[in-house]
């Protein structure tokens, strides 16, 4: 079992200010991971640096990105271009702006293939198949339409078609549903998940809404102020969050069983800005569990959990993530893969 994507102490800076402050993350082939965190937590920047798409003044200021054994950091633009589309693809937040308004949608999907040397006629055939596969009605006709003739959901489908054109090994979905209606959201999520299983893609969902992807992922990585604070199997995260920040995030989700009259829980204060220097735990100023020891920066360390009755059935599965042969059965992950950056275990929380 090798890791498809490996981030090692990845740092992204804008000028003198560090925004992503050392991210360690290993995603095995076939796994589906959610990277969650609030705006500004560095989750999107982390993913953009995987694609080599940071634009000045942003730059990777340290660490390594490895994809399928390739070292991506410091790679030449020409080589990066080979990898983009072929190995990694990305879908974006806002389908209204992610298609060129002056180009027919079919051409935009074809372009993703011709750029990688696929012959035009063949690209055309595949484009029509892809459009049909992502649920665009009558592809032959609609391929000639311009983006403004499409609804948001349709455009997102086109985006997905063009992202998957070269059958990438890794798909990064950067909040692909935030700009869509709730009903369309579900359709798009289901579509991407289906295609993921079909193509056996490793998938990373970047989102600030844990609820949206909870059912689709194997594992959740929680980011805060440019750090990974918790990295755990999804059921573990919901049943027994190990970091106070994760716990507060979950507590601030609306409870569908409440009568709706109580106030939602919030986290006091605000996250540190990128210009602030952080000593100790970045969450300390807002943390209800903060102790003296939190002035020392906690490392992201594996934590062995006492098997709790709620988490046990889910977490007791086999060793590691391997896409099931038929594709897509939920993957069980060992509880010991949980890593947390906090000095205070939940047992000691007040």
């Amino acid at each position: 079992m090798s890791d498809l994507l490996e981030l090692e102490d990845l740092r992204v800076s804008a000028g003198p200010h560090e925004i992503v402050r050392g991210v360690d993350l290993a995603v095995p082939a076939g796994q589906t991971v959610a990277v969650v965190g609030e705006s500004g937590s560095g989750k999107s920047l982390t993913m953009l640096s995987v694609m080599g798409l940071l634009s000045p003044p942003l730059r990777v200021s340290g660490g390594h990105v490895r994809l399928a054994g390739w070292e991506l950091t410091g790679l030449h633009e020409r080589q990066l271009r080979e990898i983009r589309g072929n190995e990694v693809a990305m879908i974006y937040q806002d389908p209204m702006t992610s298609l060129n308004p002056l180009m027919r949608v079919g051409e935009q999907v074809m372009e993703a293939m011709t750029a990688h040397g696929v012959a035009k006629a063949q690209a055309r055939e595949r484009m029509l198949d892809l459009l049909a596969r992502v649920g665009i009605p009558d592809p032959r006709r609609t391929a000639r339409a311009y983006p403004h003739e499409f609804s948001g959901g349709m455009r997102q489908r086109v985006m997905i078609a063009s992202a998957l054109a070269m059958r990438p090994k890794l798909l990064i979905a950067d909040e692909p549903t935030t700009a869509l209606d709730v009903t369309i959201q579900q359709q798009i999520l289901a579509l991407v998940d289906e295609l993921r299983q079909e193509l056996g893609m490793t998938t990373i969902w970047v989102t600030h809404d844990l609820g949206v992807v909870a059912r689709l992922v194997d594992r959740v990585v929680v980011m805060y102020a440019g750090h990974v604070v918790e990295d755990a199997p999804v059921r573990q995260v919901f049943a027994a969050p190990q970091h106070p920040y994760t716990a507060s995030l979950l507590a601030s989700l609306p409870d569908p069983n409440s009568d709706g009259r109580g106030r939602l829980a919030t986290i006091p204060g605000r996250p540190p800005t990128s210009t602030q220097t952080i000593t100790g735990c970045p969450f300390r100023p807002r943390c209800a569990q903060a102790r003296d020891i939190c002035a020392v920066r906690p490392e992201l360390l594996p934590r062995t959990l006492p098997v709790s009755p709620t988490a046990a059935p889910a977490a007791a599965g086999g060793a590691v993530a391997e896409p099931a042969a038929g594709g897509g059965a939920a993957v069980a992950v060992e509880a010991a893969t949980t890593r947390v950056a906090c000095h205070v275990p939940p047992a000691e929380w007040r």
Binding site: Y92, Q93, S98, R104
Partner: protein, 298 residues
């Protein structure tokens, strides 16, 4: 899977003709656009006649016995001090002035747009030098440059076009750089990079088409300024050498006789006004017609 789709089912005009047809319709529906188009069309017809040699008289042929005659059936707009037909000379002047302006604007449009796109799309290594050169050119008075070129090179219409072209390059750099800067951060450009498109293709197929409206408007407006600059240059005697007709030198020649023979001044003057006003109105109309916010479906 084959599905026959009857036209009645289509709610959206899928594969509708590109936005250009709609833009033309919008242009001709606005008063400014309509008047501008008509005036520019008039000018073009005149210029084509002159270039094709379809003028009543040879523009440089002198008829000394008919010097300084008023408009009549024989000489529609009168004659100048050498008895040359003013109507023919005006048409030829328009042709000359159009040739200079078109070449000048084509030159500055191509060079300026390319430089502006590069300055906007690439990092500081390209941006710095391009903007430095642009600022220097901006500070250069067109008349001075034309004078320098006209004295160091040969003095003909191409030199004038070159001088005007060089001076107008910075306008196109400025006008295109900004939109490209913001375009390069849009999702669809990022998406194009994500699927691995080479930079040249991104520039040609994604960036350029999206700034074409801005460039089109700028070309029209620059043409009108180029006409004025060309007229000023030939008024000062820096244009095409006599006896070649040019609107500016006709105005210069006429200023002596203007009090007694008004028609010598009127014809080239009105021609310049029609030319400049027409291009400006057309530019305004195009700006509105090509603005994507005016709805693509109307």
């Amino acid at each position: 899977m084959t599905t026959a789709v009857t036209p009645a089912e289509t709610t959206v005009a899928v594969g509708a003709p590109p936005a250009t047809t709609a833009a033309w319709r919008r242009l001709l529906r606005s008063p400014a656009g309509l008047i501008g188009t008509v005036l520019v069309a008039l000018i073009l017809i005149g210029a084509i006649c002159a270039i094709a040699g379809l003028t009543p008289y040879d523009p440089v042929a002198q008829h000394p016995r008919d010097a300084l005659q008023g408009p009549s059936g024989r000489y529609w707009l009168g004659t100048d001090q050498f008895g040359r037909d003013i109507f023919s000379r005006t048409l030829a002047g328009i042709g000359n002035s159009l040739r200079v302006s078109v070449v000048a604007v084509a030159l500055s449009g191509v060079v300026g747009t390319l430089a502006g796109v590069c300055a906007g799309y690439f990092g500081n290594k390209v941006r710095g030098p391009v903007l430095a050169v642009t600022n220097v050119l901006f500070a250069f008075p067109p008349l001075l440059l034309a004078l320098t070129l006209a004295t160091t090179l040969t003095r003909n219409w191409a030199t004038i076009a070159l001088a005007i072209g060089i001076v107008y390059v910075p306008i196109f750099v400025r006008v295109t750089r900004g939109p490209v800067l913001s375009l390069r951060e849009t999702d669809f450009i990022r998406a194009a990079r994500v699927v691995g498109l080479p930079t040249r293709r991104i520039l040609a197929r994604h960036i350029l088409p999206n700034i074409s409206a801005i460039v089109t408007v700028q070309v029209t407006l620059s043409l009108s300024w180029a006409v004025l600059t060309e007229a000023s240059l030939s008024f000062l005697g820096l244009g095409s050498p006599p006896p070649a007709p040019s609107l500016g030198s006709m105005v210069f020649d006429a200023k002596v006789f203007a009090s007694t023979a008004w028609w010598t001044l009127a014809a080239p003057g009105v021609a310049i006004v029609i030319f400049v006003v027409g291009l400006n109105l057309l530019g305004d109309g195009l700006r509105d017609a090509l603005d994507p916010r005016n709805g693509r479906n109307s």
